[in-house]
């Protein structure tokens, strides 16, 4: 049985439908990434899956429980890392965990012995008595992750777990999430960092304007939708070069001052660039971000 099954999910706010017929399946032990630009409906989809808002249509089964009717039973086995930290500023690090455990019906005697372990996991060993205000952004994020584990959940929902973190803090979170996967827990995360999704997720779904527009493993999606190599070129009269280089790539695209060339074989492109030494270029394999931009466009979404 799947950990999460979503069929025909719809949600309307005011006049606008923000989730328009979403189908999802997440298998046990999988790390599933929901990708999409801002306003794509990712957070709303998570809230619906957790029973925090009522869908207008569709069916949700979370860990075998029907949601929202039995959301309480489902959430008892789930941990949630919200998009914005909502740690309790009036409490110390340890009190945050202890009090959160009570919301799961866990007694202090059950939670207290686990606190050192949870803090160790979060890289906050020895900080049990620290005040929340004294923690850095990365530490708060890790404490939020530790708090989500207080009930030893089978499954975790994380809404942009590394947004706003520096590379060190982000890598530490990734490392911890891998450890959680090794322990057999199911992970669902939203992100707009394609790199994050490529590193962590077994499977991703790309969401735009309330719809899932592509779904599969990151490699599969890249292979299916996009050429293998990318050359990014910029410099004086790059447009002139573009006209001449167009037949050498399967797809070329001008975004601002930069030309993106997508091709399975890039030697002809690189060759043509040798005669234009004033142009700067970068050659790299295609990634999920290229796919993402191809499918959702380059327009800003605010």
């Amino acid at each position: 049985m799947n950990s999460l099954e979503v069929r025909g999910l719809r949600k309307r706010y005011g006049g606008e439908e923000v989730v328009c017929g979403v189908d999802l399946e997440v298998a046990p032990g999988e790390c599933f990434g929901l990708l999409g630009p801002n306003g794509a409906g990712k957070t709303t989809t998570l809230r619906l899956c957790l029973g925090l808002a009522d869908p207008d249509a569709g069916a949700i089964r979370l860990l075998g429980h029907e949601v929202p009717a039995h959301a309480r039973e489902a959430r008892a086995q789930v941990g949630v890392v919200p998009q914005f930290d909502n740690l309790d500023p009036d409490f110390s690090v340890a009190e945050n965990l202890l009090v959160y455990g009570r919301y799961f019906g866990l007694g202090d005697r059950a939670v207290a012995p686990r606190i050192p372990q949870l803090l160790e996991f979060a890289g906050l060993g020895g900080r049990a008595a620290a005040k929340i205000q004294t923690l850095s952004g990365g530490m708060k994020r890790r404490l939020t992750l530790a708090r989500a584990l207080v009930n030893d959940p089978r499954m975790l929902f994380m809404d942009e777990p590394t947004t706003g973190l520096d590379p060190q803090a982000r890598h530490l979170i990734w490392e911890r999430l891998r450890r959680l996967m090794q322990e057999g827990r199911t992970l669902v995360l939203t992100t707009h960092f394609m790199e994050e999704a490529e590193r962590l997720c077994n499977r991703v779904a790309i969401m735009d304007r309330g719809r899932i527009i592509a779904q599969g493993t990151p490699r599969e999606l890249i292979a299916r939708h996009i050429e293998a190599q990318v050359v990014e070129v910029h410099g004086p009269d790059v447009e002139g070069w573009m006209a001449q280089a167009k037949p050498l790539a399967q797809r070329t695209e001008l975004a601002g001052e930069t030309v993106f060339c997508y091709a399975d074989s890039v030697e002809p492109l690189i060759g043509s660039l040798r005669s234009r030494p004033e142009l700067l270029y970068m050659h790299r394999p295609a990634n999920l971000e290229d796919l993402f931009l191809k499918l959702t466009g380059r327009d800003l979404r605010d």
């Binding site: 309480r72 008892a76 949630v80 909502n86 309790d88 009570r102 919301y103 009930n151």
Partner: protein
Amino acid sequence: MTRFFALPSFSLRFIAVWRRHFLVWRKLAIPSILGNLADPLIVLFGLGYGLGAALGEVEGTSYFGFLAGGFMASTTMYAATFESLFSAYSRMHVQKTWEAIVNAPMTLEDVLAGEWAWAASKALAAGICILAIVAAAGHASFPSALAAVPVVVLVGLAFAALGLAVNALASGYDFFSYYMTLLLTPMMMLSGVFFPVERLPEAVQAVARALPLYHGVELVRPLLAGALPAHAFLHLVVLAAYALAGFYLATVLTRRRLLT
């Protein structure tokens, strides 16, 4: 839509929310209790003795004795109101504490019931502090004055419920000024806290009798003085009705705000 208007379903899970608030309060308990004591001390002694010296007796008792009952009721009204407006708004909107709680297996009703019970507890604490001062000044008659304590809890529940309903509509802290200035301040003037309601014109008296604070004052004042309140059952029913209807309204409005 139907779930919006459903009656709130009760679960003992709300105790976890109450305990959270209690743990925060414990860290600030001493200043909080001092505030609960200092405020009534200043007003009761200032108005009770100062103004009382000029007024003489009111309704056959010293003005201090008259004011004590009204002030106990109105102070618990404010204690419950502040908690359910400013403090609840901080937890709901600013700190997102409610959001954190409902990510656990807790419902919005659990959160609201916890806030409700907690605001009534703050009213209870304020009421006990005033009772101690009134008793020390020799204006409380025991054991009947002890019966004013559960009344104060009921007053707290009524105003906490109304406060939570207002909280669900708030766009910011400033929003609460409307409620405080336009509703609570006139209510305090009309409900017989500072002077007997009978001094008001007939039509205004009719308005006063519809207000929850009036019924609280009508219960607390005789109990402090050692008498059984007239129409006690009616007053209790009105307060309970405000509490229950107010909590239902708060539940519906909060669902509309947060569950969509």
